[in-house]
């Protein structure tokens, strides 16, 4: 008998290097090109970039560049000068803003579908694609990894990391994660 209801493995990954680039499509493309990065052909597509990075595109005007944290300085050295030359596109370091989780195994979808209304099946979210969707009432980026086994990478705003970790544990059928410092109601009644 497994300790959890599902056989999914949930792992909180270490901080990664993340840069967010936004702007008019033309300027965004030009800046990325100047920095030496490929432009993903479609929204929702992940392409490989320099320094082992992955470029995730969301719509015409938004891109995330993700890599191992050790590459953060190298990426900054490429991206910041390139964007400085373009007037209507910008890049910001957002490595500290996101927490990253990996959910893998044959029942990974069983876990994630408890929070995500979007169809995450392999033919709707193939490997190498990413989608921004709701996950337990917050925004999450979910991508299907290029692995033999079913595996998803989740990115959520870091401030929600504890909340998401708790949900992932419970959705997997395990015990709730400890959540000190969470109270749903103010403690003091107003004396009238």
């Amino acid at each position: 008998m497994t300790a959890t209801r599902y056989a999914a493995r949930v792992v909180a990954l270490p901080m990664c290097a993340l840069f967010e680039a936004r702007g008019a499509e033309q300027g965004l493309r030009a800046a990325l090109d100047a920095a030496g990065f490929a432009w993903p052909a479609h929204s929702g597509v992940i392409v490989d970039g320099l320094h082992g990075s992955a470029i995730l595109r969301f719509g015409p005007a938004r891109v995330l560049i993700r890599a191992d944290l050790s590459r953060e300085a190298a990426l900054a050295d490429r991206l910041e000068p390139a964007f400085a030359t373009v007037g209507d596109a910008d890049v910001a370091r957002v490595s500290d803003m996101y927490a990253v989780f990996q959910v893998a195994g044959s029942s990974a979808e069983d876990v994630l579908r408890q929070g995500a209304p979007l169809d995450l099946s392999a033919d709707r979210l193939p490997q190498g694609s990413v989608v921004a969707t709701e996950l337990w009432a917050i925004t999450a980026f979910i991508s299907r990894d290029r692995t033999a086994e079913a595996s998803f990478t989740l990115m959520v705003e870091r401030s929600y990391a504890g909340y998401v970790a708790d949900w992932l544990a419970v959705a997997n059928g395990g015990k709730p994660a400890a959540s000190p410092g969470v109270m749903t109601n103010p403690p003091r009644p107003l004396a009238v």
Binding site: R5, Y6, M15, E20, R22, G23, A24, G27, A61, A84, G87, D88, A89, D90, V91, A92, R93, V94, S95, D96, M97, D110, R113, Q114, A116, P117, L118, D119, S121, R124, W136, A137, I138, E157, R158, S159, Y160, A161, G162, Y163, D166, W167, V170, A171, G173, P176, S179, P180, G181, V182, M183, T184, N185, P186, P187, R188, L190, A191, V192
Partner: protein, 973 residues
């Protein structure tokens, strides 16, 4: 003993006897029994009492059409378990609902003597003097449903989303054919059925089709693209093919009690079958009177023969199957057929089994109280009486198209041949097949199911394969029904109950109509017909027909009521899933939360899901003492608070100044790099949306700060401006709120603490003036420092990438130790900002105030000709110049005033002329001080106004809205 378990037969597992208790009696059943079947097997026919009158009641149906409930006292106490669908558990203790001491001997039966005082709608008429509340507790205690157990137990539930190409509701012949067809095409299929085993009525009918059933099951098992959900019910059909399903005891997750699915199906096939309806007659609610199909179901599914001397009362052929099977099982059977003639082949089959048949028969009344013991009936030959222990009734079949109706894409239409309503729809989203459309033969149902699936697949552009359908003919189907809606009361006969769950009789329906409730929707609500446990599954059509008969109209002219979810009862715990405790709502933490918690901070939400420290109580302190101490530390020394949640947006582009000038009332185009400006953001209806400080980082980049609680609103507002209203403007906007952690030093000694952090930049007032910024390092950590203040004291906001947040905070506490630095929570911050007269979104900025109301006219750039909201604001002010304006208030006699308290003329209970937006115990003035909005407040300085707090009136003096350092000399020091 008359109801009994037969030595053979049924689908129960006779190798697994299970013992349980019901109303104190020890009962043995088998694995696979429901509570109902196990009780019947032990000849327990009286299992409950009616909702209002506590009449003895027995099982009428064998599924969700039955209304008998029991409370499970252990294990896992839970009220209102439907006995006919809930499986027995070993060692369980059940008791009948709302009875005392038991269903058999219920004290509540005295309610029967008060029946004349308890007609429909009695609670509007009787028990009103001297006060309804005098009688209410007794009536509520006596009525209806089980009590929520005192012991806390939560089911283990999961709530999840699903998607499929075709969702099939029901696994009878039509549903199985539909699912097999859809599955064989390769489409993603979900097959939902409320029974533990698929087959629908084939489990107690159509034994010639068992081979076909086995073939279908084998096909479905072999299809990985088909997901079967047994013991599951589709209980709601929402817009755009979103359906809610409850899966009970899922086989793939043994620890779960429930799984709730929210399924988006591209196509739906509703093959939910049909429900048999009774023929109500006087006292037909007695235990032992049940639906003919139920008697057959108990016989074949559970091996229980529910009566040895059975009378079958019917107006259609389908009940003959029950008669023949009961006779085969050894019952002495008489059929009373209301029709004047019966087909010869049917008569012959009945005669072969030794069944007596009387045509043109009408039951007059049932005899017996705790159990039916005889029937009186009339034929052309006159009135007769026949002893019995079971009456199996069939008045026809009602197609179950409730879900189609819930989708709001179907209406009901009358079919006279089967004397009931069926669905009419032209939706492209779903199909209905089988008995749910009024088709009753097995082969026909299967063919319709396959065709419905083919239609669904066609709509998806998928080719459908052929699947086999059973070819055997059914002997008895209700293809023609001789309408008989009820048998009226004759003199001396008992009531005719049409809706058993609500104790609604024909008398009640007549009374409602005489009192003027002339539409079926009003009659439903007034009498509660159709509102009980079975939601009218067996009674609705009879109610409609009775109303028609009493009003002289056909049933189809009366119409149906509106079907709404839930189709079956659903536990709240199942809907909630795992949403409890910390998972009830999203919550957010800053990188410094660990430190706050370690220091004993009391944490709670303070804006946009952020869990923040409210105060840091020391031993012996309550919240007020802690907040006072922290606020005093800021006024007299130095404090530090976690300002991480403040909204932050990085802007870049040549049109950023234009955007800021449009969105804010201030003028940003001349702002120099490294300088900030405080301004107010308006919505296009001229009211304040937010306030905040925007800094120009360099020639091209800006950092816009919003308030914590308005961050998402401001982001959406700016994106709408850029994407919709000004798509040609060259601006990029990147939210960076949580990229930065923030430790804000505040107080007269703030600069001293900053100096102790070894900054590599000049922190003098000249180099870093108020509203200035600098980037550099403190304690070896990269920081951006902003000189803004929200406390009315010298302040430095130290922002560092969030990964350095804990290290920065530690460094600040270490450096500040010799200055007795104090961590400051939201409560103290509130005191400080009220003293300083600073605004707060949600208090003074309440969605009705504009920039002039709050005394901020000076923020409007003198050279600005326009900004968002300007015109609306001016039009509003011109139309009503008498505005609520920001004032300070000094409550008399040291009284605190609740925030939100209305200010009324004289303190009277009349329309308010203002309200108190905030009230705190000021550390600067050692007394309560308040801010408020008061009509024409600025010209009423010195006046005394009055706040109304329930029955108290609190006098307050109107003063300027600032109580500390009005010149802002400390802020700018």
């Amino acid at each position: 003993m008359t109801a009994m378990r037969l030595p053979n037969g049924g689908l129960v597992d006779r190798t697994q006897p299970l013992r349980f208790q019901f109303d104190g009696m020890e009962i043995t059943g088998f694995a696979g029994d429901t509570i109902a079947s196990a009780l019947l097997a032990n000849d327990i026919v009286l299992a409950g009492r009616s909702f209002k009158l506590h009449r003895p009641r027995g099982f009428v149906g064998a599924g969700y059409d039955d209304g008998i409930m029991v409370d499970r006292l252990s294990p896992r106490p839970a009220p209102n378990q439907l006995a006919a669908v809930t499986g027995i558990e070993p060692g369980a203790v059940y008791r009948s609902v709302s009875t005392w001491p038991s269903a058999r001997r219920d004290f509540g039966a005295v309610a029967g003597f008060f029946a004349p005082l308890l007609p429909a709608g009695f609670y509007y008429k009787t028990f009103m003097r001297p006060s309804w509340h005098l009688f209410e507790p007794l009536i509520r205690a006596a009525a209806g449903l089980g009590r929520v157990p005192v012991e806390t137990w939560q089911p283990t539930s999961e709530s999840r989303y699903g998607d499929c190409d075709v969702l099939v509701v029901g696994a009878g012949p039509a549903g199985l054919a539909a699912a097999s067809t859809a599955g064989a095409s390769g489409a993603r299929v979900m097959l939902v059925d409320d029974q533990p085993s698929p087959g629908g009525r084939l489990l107690h009918d159509g034994f010639a089709d068992q081979a076909w059933l086995a073939e279908m099951l084998a096909m479905l098992e072999a299809m990985p693209n088909v997901r079967r959900l047994p013991q599951s019910s589709v209980w709601a059909y929402h817009e755009h093919n979103l359906l809610t399903v409850i899966e009970r005891a899922p086989s793939d997750a043994r620890d779960l009690d429930f799984r709730t699915w929210k399924v988006r199906a591209r196509q739906v096939v509703i093959a939910a079958g049909a429900q048999e309806r009774p023929i109500p007659f006087p006292d037909s609610d007695r235990p032992g009177v049940m639906l003919a199909s139920a008697a057959r179901s108990y016989l074949h599914r559970h091996g229980v023969r529910v009566g040895a001397r059975a009378i079958v009362f019917t107006n259609n052929d389908s009940a003959y199957a029950t008669a023949l099977d009961l006779a085969q099982a050894g019952s002495a059977v008489t059929v009373l057929d209301a029709r004047p003639t019966v087909a010869p082949e049917v008569q012959a089959r009945a005669a072969d089994r030794g069944i007596r048949l009387r045509t043109g028969a009408q039951v007059v009344r049932a005899i017996g109280r705790a159990r039916v013991s005889a029937l009186e009936f009339e034929t052309a030959q006159g009135r007769e009486r026949l002893d019995c222990d079971l009456v199996a009734v069939s008045g026809g079949w009602n197609p179950a198209f409730h879900l189609a109706s819930q989708s709001r894409q179907a209406t009901s239409v009358w079919r006279p041949d089967i004397a009931t309503f069926v669905a009419r729809h032209a939706s492209e989203d779903f199909s209905i097949a089988g008995a749910a459309t009024g088709t009753f033969g097995t082969s026909d149902c299967a063919r319709e199911g396959a065709a419905a699936a083919a239609t669904a697949l066609g709509r998806l552009g998928i080719k459908s394969p052929a699947v086999p359908v059973p070819e055997s003919g059914d002997a008895f189907v209700a293809n023609e029904v001789h309408p008989l809606w009820f048998v009226p009361r004759s003199k001396g006969a008992g009531k005719v109950f049409v809706d058993l769950s609500g104790d609604v009789s024909t008398d009640d329906l007549g009374l409602a109509m005489r009192e003027g409730y002339d539409s079926i929707e009003l009659i439903k609500r007034y009498t509660t017909a159709g509102m009980g446990v079975d939601q009218g599954k067996t009674g609705n059509v009879n109610v409609i027909a009775v109303v028609g008969a009493l009003s002289g109209q056909p049933a189809d002219a009366v119409g149906t009521t509106t079907f709404r979810p839930p189709y079956v009862p659903v536990e709240f715990g199942a809907i909630a899933g795992a949403r409890s405790q910390a998972r009830l709502y999203p919550w957010r933490h800053t990188p410094l939360t660990g430190w706050h918690v370690e220091q004993g901070a009391v944490m709670y939400e303070a804006g946009l899901r952020w869990q923040r420290p409210g105060y840091y109580p020391q031993p012996g302190e309550d919240w007020s003492a802690a907040a006072q101490r922290e606020a005093r530390a800021v006024r007299e020394g130095v404090g530090v608070y976690d300002g991480t949640p403040l909204g932050k947006f990085q802007l870049k582009g040549p049109d950023v100044p234009r955007l800021l000038d449009l969105a804010y009332v201030g003028d940003f185009s001349k702002l120099k790099p490294r300088r900030g400006k405080y301004s107010v953001m308006m919505s296009d209806d001229g009211l304040i949306l937010d306030d905040g400080v925007t800094f120009r980082l360099d020639e091209h980049r800006w950092l816009l700060h919003s308030s914590t609680g308005a961050a998402d609103r401001v982001h959406g507002h700016l994106e709408q401006l850029l994407q919709v209203h000004r798509p040609d403007w060259r601006v990029s906007l990147i939210p960076v709120t949580t990229q930065w952690a923030n430790a804000t030093l505040c107080g007269p000694l703030a600069r001293d603490v900053l100096a102790a952090l070894n900054p590599d930049f000049d922190i003098s007032n000249k180099a870093l003036p108020f509203m200035g910024m600098v980037e550099g390092h403190v304690a070896g950590l990269p920081v951006r420092v902003f000189r803004v203040s929200w406390t009315g004291e010298l302040s430095f906001e130290l922002n560092t990438p969030a990964r350095h947040g804990p290290a920065l905070w530690q460094a600040v506490m270490q450096a500040g130790a010799r200055f007795a630095i104090t961590p400051v929570g939201s409560e103290a911050n509130h005191i400080l900002r009220v003293e300083a007269g600073y605004l707060s979104t949600g208090h003074e900025v309440d969605g009705t105030a504009d920039v002039h109301d709050l005394g901020l006219s000076g923020l409007i750039g003198p050279a600005k000709t326009d900004f968002l909201g300007k015109r609306s604001m001016e039009i509003r002010r011109r139309a009503d110049p008498s505005r609520f304006e920001l004032v300070g208030l000094l409550p008399e006699q040291g009284q605190m005033v609740p925030e939100g308290a209305p200010i009324t003329p004289g303190g009277d209970r009349i329309d308010q002329e203002g309200f108190v937006s905030a009230c705190v115990m000021s550390v600067a003035q050692q007394r309560p001080v308040a801010l408020g909005l008061l009509r024409e407040g600025r010209r009423r300085m010195g006046e005394t106004v009055r706040a109304r707090v329930r029955d108290r009136i609190i006098a307050m003096q109107v003063v300027e809205p600032v109580f500390h350092d009005a010149s802002r000399s400390r802020v700018k020091s």
